[in-house]
Symmetry: C2
Subunit: 487 residues, 2 copies
């Protein structure tokens, strides 16, 4: 490179970008960081191509791109320059900034809190047998359909639909599709004013916790139960009452008399996957009327039923307005899109919408519009059938592997969901099992993390959504070996 030209480092060996885009990246970064002078030409295509070990055409394509974008200009016979308009408008070069010493003490001290973090290793995908929960198999995702929806939604005509600040409103089309394709399969009729889109079900729980914490001091929860819900209600300032469960779901008689708010997961109890029986559902609704309490129904994995038909939602059985329904698209579309929703009495939704506005305004419009289109074109329905089909096979395979290899443990009887719940004898410690399995490439969720008070160490959970059928039995056999050593 000519000595008067700016120097660029080599292209990184592991970039995900094309060569042209990598060159665009390094040049635009150099402009932003003001390390290119405005009065000197950039290296010629030939020079930069030699330096970066790419073809001249690639450099030419990158330069042309940057000219189109307005970052560079080309001057006859002198070469390529940074666009002087960029120079004029660029922010001041900040030269006087103080670099904070990384060892500076934090000026505030936080108290320790009781929130239970999610503790899966971030590199769980590197393990051959990740029997953990809440991940989907990316092979199932209809990428082409999703890309088609994105392409349609990002059309110039639709631009204002997703670039504008939607203030506190939701995508009308998404709300309509949820009513038509999702809620109606759960027996729920709700109009627009009874639905709020949330950033996943975790966000739905926190919003509800926030609006109810001024009215009720505590919430009754299934124990073991969903720690995400406990965290949300606790951070919103509420206390927890623990309600035990049995093979039919939450034990209604054990709900405290002064309870005004209860959280439950009837479709599949989190974490045991027990489906609430029809009698129990009726008992719970009757108790709600008699004792005047509100029910938050998290319709957890409602779609994942392999042995029997799906049970109707509590909300569909209620005519008193006491049931608040929470749904999520994390399992049926993807957890990375973070979309969920609340269905409730319009007065509750009104409060929830104000609270959501203060927390974050609204879930990104662009994601709402893409998902609405995904529903509209039928991709959601087709994808849901695919998931059900695939998970049915996996559930039976996993059930078989567990019955065959882990029959020294007690398996909680279930008819759906994406995991199994296993319990050892009194002396059994699932933390120890978890520790011993990890170096053997097997990840499991220990049960004690789901308990509120009495930390029962005997149970653990095996999620099967991510482990391919071909690997299941091998993984379960390793678990069996380690269980036998612990018994």
């Amino acid at each position: 490179m000519a000595s008067n030209s700016p120097r660029f480092s080599q292209l990184p060996p592991d970039s995900k970008l094309s060569l042209r885009d990598q060159i665009c990246e390094i040049i635009s970064t150099a402009i932003t960081s003001s390390s290119l002078s405005y009065d000197r030409p950039l290296p010629s295509c030939r020079e930069l191509a030699l330096h970066l070990k790419v073809s001249r055409n690639t450099v030419f394509a990158a330069y042309s791109r940057l000219i189109d974008m307005g970052l560079l200009v080309s001057r006859d016979r002198s070469g390529y320059f940074v666009n002087p308009e960029v120079a004029q408008l660029s922010n001041a070069k900040i030269t006087q900034s103080k670099k904070l010493n990384p060892d500076t003490c934090c000026p505030v001290q936080f108290q320790t809190n009781e929130l239970v973090p999610i503790v899966n290793p971030l590199d769980w995908q590197e393990y051959p047998f990740p029997f953990i929960y809440n991940q989907i198999d990316p092979d199932l995702f209809p990428v082409d359909g999703w890309r088609e929806c994105t392409r349609q939604v990002l059309g110039r005509k639709q631009l204002t639909n997703w670039t504008n600040d939607a203030v506190e409103s939701d995508s009308k089309e998404l709300v309509q599709q949820l009513r038509q394709r999702l809620l109606n399969t759960r027996g729920i009729y709700a109009d627009e004013a009874e639905i709020l889109i949330t950033l996943g079900s975790q966000n739905a729980l926190f919003i509800l916790g926030s609006i109810f914490s001024s009215l009720f001091k505590s919430v009754a929860m299934e124990d073991p139960g969903f720690f995400g819900a406990r965290n949300a209600f606790r951070m919103a300032g509420m206390n927890m009452d623990s309600v035990p469960i049995d093979e039919e779901g939450i034990i209604v008689d054990a709900i405290p008399n002064d309870c005004k708010l209860i959280f439950t997961t009837p479709s599949h109890q989190f974490p045991t996957m027990v489906t609430m029986s029809q009698t129990r559902r009726e008992d719970l609704l009757n108790a709600a009327s008699a004792n005047d309490f509100i029910i938050i129904e998290d319709d957890y994995e409602a779609e994942m039923n392999y042995v029997t038909q799906t049970s109707p939602s509590l909300r569909s059985l209620d005519d008193s307005g006491r049931v608040i329904y929470i749904g999520s698209l994390s399992k049926t579309v993807s957890p990375g899109i973070r979309l969920g929703f609340i269905v409730a009495h319009r007065d509750i939704i009104k409060q929830a919408r104000i609270a959501r506005g203060v927390m974050m305004r609204h879930p990104p419009t662009i994601v709402q519009e893409i998902v609405a289109r995904f529903f509209q074109l039928g991709h959601y329905d087709a994808h849901l059938r695919n998931i059900e089909r695939r998970y049915t096979k996996r559930w039976y395979a996993m059930n078989h592997a567990i019955s065959k290899n882990l029959n020294m443990l007690s398996q909680t009887a279930t008819v759906g969901g994406t995991s199994f719940w296993l319990t050892g004898p009194d002396s059994f410690d699932s933390s120890l099992l978890k520790e011993r399995l990890k170096p053997r490439g097997v990840l499991i969720d220990r049960g004690q993390d789901y308990y509120l008070h009495k930390k029962d160490k005997r149970s653990f959970r095996l999620g099967f959504a991510y482990v391919p059928i071909a690997n299941m039995e091998a993984g379960v056999k390793i678990i069996a070996e380690e269980v036998n050593r612990l018994l």
Copy 2:
């Protein structure tokens, strides 16, 4: 249509979808709602084409599409049927659900709260002169660049990057790009552990309110100030102290002695757009050290400077770790994507990350990845220059129109931002002005909504980001007419 075929209604006249996609929509909806029987054929292409008044090819294309998706099957000589696998797996038909009477009373009564909602009419785009704030001009948005980034990010190879549950981590690439292209222009050096991605700056404020409400009873705020911040701190459970401002920004001497947390908008004071002077910045930092308080700096519209160079951020002048920096991409990319970030001491970020996890886990991975790519390829830089260029012209045009037509009012001197702040004489009432302007097609923001205690009625704000230069003077003249009637 043959009498034994299912009936479909006509295609809606106003759909945004192609004809083929509209047919896919009505058929997939009919399958979901179980209104198609599985043992009877659908109408033939010819029949349905006649019925819907489209070409046979269009119906054929839709049927082929639905076969590809697995929702329909084609049987030789018998025609098209719903895929029996869909029938087997479909959720139970819910027949027993109770329809909630829309007049049912809400089972809980909420107290009225002091949260200030945003009150712009949702149809603001229909007004010829929407001098309101917080909207961007969609014509400026680089749709093609954005679509390119989306296409790249949605590639099958990148799938797991955005479909997986990211638990509590952020997009590494986005964090890297923010450091390299945005924070460095603000004089800020921060490592990964000092940055948290949020769902816009509103979410950043609420997260900070939540983690500080257990430590501090109150927060000191500029008055007039940003109601979004007031709402966030109030909902998090904090009280407000009011601190007046002058032409150099927040009045440091007026900060209460026992104040431990202060919120400020130094780049452009919200809502007056006053830029905090260098002396005032130093005074504020010295006061923070002397009185041991934390500063939350919302770097509001930092990029929008037309007359002078951008001032360095408070965070870049601080070596004590007392400044928490909040930034947003709503103005420089789009408010619909809802991305912002917090830069703070790693211990504060750690707490903020836990709180964010409980509220909503994380901003959608897919949006983070697209925006990261948007930065990486240089689109952000190019777009920012475009915005600056366009807004500079608009700012001068608006400034000119105001000086010429509204000189009976006092205009607060500013050097940037996307709005102007005007104040009438003592008797002036901007609510009245707002009311009279609306039927004339002019929207303005009245000043009193930004005050905490003393609701000063004299001021109003004119945002110019959305009104084209050609319309500005006409709009300002209408305002002048109505102002004159009120004086």
